[in-house]
């Protein structure tokens, strides 16, 4: 490597596990508001609730390895006037307890915050049993349930604060796979709003959670090639910000969605449904990046690459979509 090449290598970007700010903010909120309680399924460690338990031993309810009971108990605590944060590894919290999430939380409209820890393919080599890539498809089918996907430390804190300020049925993806912080000046998370992180006029890149920084990096690559990419953060997958999606379809010539999830019912499917209802001039090509299968063995990074969830692949998908446009 030459001296010039070395100088052109950017310093490594620091990345973070969002379970840490989640737990810190939950403790902050519990200090301020006696209604805040945590419920978990033996996941005190993996949900990063050790410090919470030390400070509020009575307010951490561990139901053991019993996810149906976990969500039901959360609903009962909400009925009793508490603001429960029900924490568990995302695949089990959503999959094993799906009917409880549907009936006890969403249909009953009891203000429970479901905290899906280590979502997506965070558990890499542990395989599809431990991946939570179906959660978007499953939960988007439930009316009245917010789906929140914070992309960095500050957004994770905001998601917790929002849940205490305005308790309502919600699912938060709390990422374990380390991600960088978003650029300074990123707007505050607002319920039901897709955020514009970067302006652009040729193509729109929509990411959420772990894929958002990759979409931003892809936009840098595209800019170097003279392509102006808008980057949207679908931090609220539900309720869906239809207006921002429609504007992207009308103001740019193609859309790429990137999600650490199965594509059958996630952000790509949501965006497609919106666009298919628009006038023909706005029905732009869409590239949907995500999973189509049960993942083979591999690290999280390896699997993200396999499913095209890298800055290179997102940039290439944008160019391909523009070509089709």
């Amino acid at each position: 490597m030459t001296a010039v090449d070395e100088a052109s290598v950017a310093p490594p970007v620091e990345t973070f596990d969002n379970r840490v700010p989640f737990a810190e903010e939950l403790i902050e909120q519990a200090r301020r508001d006696p209604r805040v309680v945590a419920v978990c399924n033996d996941s005190v460690g993996s949900s990063n609730l050790v410090a919470f338990r030390e400070e509020f031993p009575d307010r951490l309810i561990n139901v053991g390895i019993a996810e149906q009971d976990l969500v039901g108990v959360g609903a009962g605590l909400a009925n009793a006037g508490f603001v429960p944060f029900v924490c568990g590894a995302a695949p089990f919290l959503t999959g094993r307890s799906l009917e409880q999430v549907k009936v006890d939380v969403a249909y009953s409209q009891l203000p429970v915050t479901l905290c899906g820890m280590s979502p997506g393919m965070a558990y890499g080599e542990l395989g599809p049993t431990h991946h939570s890539v179906e959660d978007f498809s499953w939960l988007r089918a439930l009316p009245g349930l917010d789906i929140v996907v914070p992309a960095d430390r500050e957004q994770t804190r905001q998601a917790v604060r929002n849940a205490v300020e305005m308790p309502r049925p919600a699912f938060i993806r709390v990422g374990r796979f380390k991600v960088p912080d978003l650029p300074k000046g990123t707007p505050r998370l607002e319920r039901g709003r897709i955020q514009t992180i970067r302006k652009g006029s040729d193509v729109t890149l929509i990411g959420l959670g772990s894929t958002l920084p990759r979409a931003l990096a892809a936009a840098d690559r595209l800019a170097a090639d003279g392509v102006s990419a808008r980057v949207l953060n679908a931090a609220y997958l539900a309720p869906l910000d239809v207006a921002t999606i429609e504007a992207a379809a009308r103001e740019t010539r193609a859309i790429v969605t990137a999600e650490e999830a199965n594509v059958s019912g996630g952000v790509g499917a949501a965006v497609s449904a919106v666009i298919s209802g628009l006038e023909s001039s706005a029905r732009v090509p869409i590239e949907i990046l995500g999973l189509h299968e049960f993942a083979p063995t591999g690290s999280t990074g390896f699997l993200l690459e396999r499913y095209g969830l890298t800055e290179e692949s997102i940039a290439e998908a944008a160019k391909a979509a523009l070509t089709r446009g």
């Binding site: 039901g72 108990v73 006037g81 009936v103 409209q109």
Partner: protein, 292 residues
Amino acid sequence: MLHADPERVSAWRRLRAMVADATPTERDALLHEQATWIRRSVVSMIDSARQGHIGGDFSVTDILATLYFAVLDIDPGRPEWPERDRYIQSKGHAAASLYSTLARCGFFPPEELDTFMAPLSPLNGHPNRNEIPGVETNTGPLGHGLPVAVGTAIGAKLAGRRSRTFVALGDGEMQEGSNWEALMAGAHHHLDNLTAIIDRNRLQQGARTEDTNALDPLDEKLAAFNWEVRVVDGHDYAQLLNAFGPSTTGRPVAVVANTIKGHGVSFIEDRVEWHHKVPDADQVRAALEELV
């Protein structure tokens, strides 16, 4: 969302006072009168909707009458009162008996019962708390009520409230694994403010429980899960009242209420086909003749 019927609420208050002051014989007569009203209402509702679950409605009716007219610390005029006792009907399919009971207490006007399962009626085939005051949580799929009840009971303790939680389950429903998760949690958390009532009518939709996936010895199983178990006649008001008293051991209470599915109408009693059979006109007349 339905709203309280002030006249019915006043009538319910007077009735509660009468029940509280009555001799055991008078009390039983008053509770029987309420149960009969509920059962007659169920017959009319199912007749008019042409669907429903009459067998399970009738087996749980005396439990409902005892709870709402003699036990629960509630105010039908203020269904969201935080200090209230909670009653959760896990066997949501017995909705007609629950709705009739709630209407009789004044949670909403009894005329609404005529809309049972009609298009856009708040009175769905399974209860919805967002439409009906007095419904604590939505039920229908089995095995949901007890976990939620464990949560309300933990909540009452955390909040330092004296309020109690009662939950009624069908016996067939005890085949759901979620209930056994919740039984463990209830005992582990020493929920002496929680009473689970198992409507032990020994029939499920398709056959006898013991011929399907046997539950016996149910009392011993519940005791082995560290619950204080009380086995009673689920149609005997004195026994039910006794069973609904507070825990004496610091453990949650499980009441195994031995009932007869379809209790009150001879040709419906203990017959598997009456899980959700709808009576024809002659059967409606015959049922109402027996329900006095």
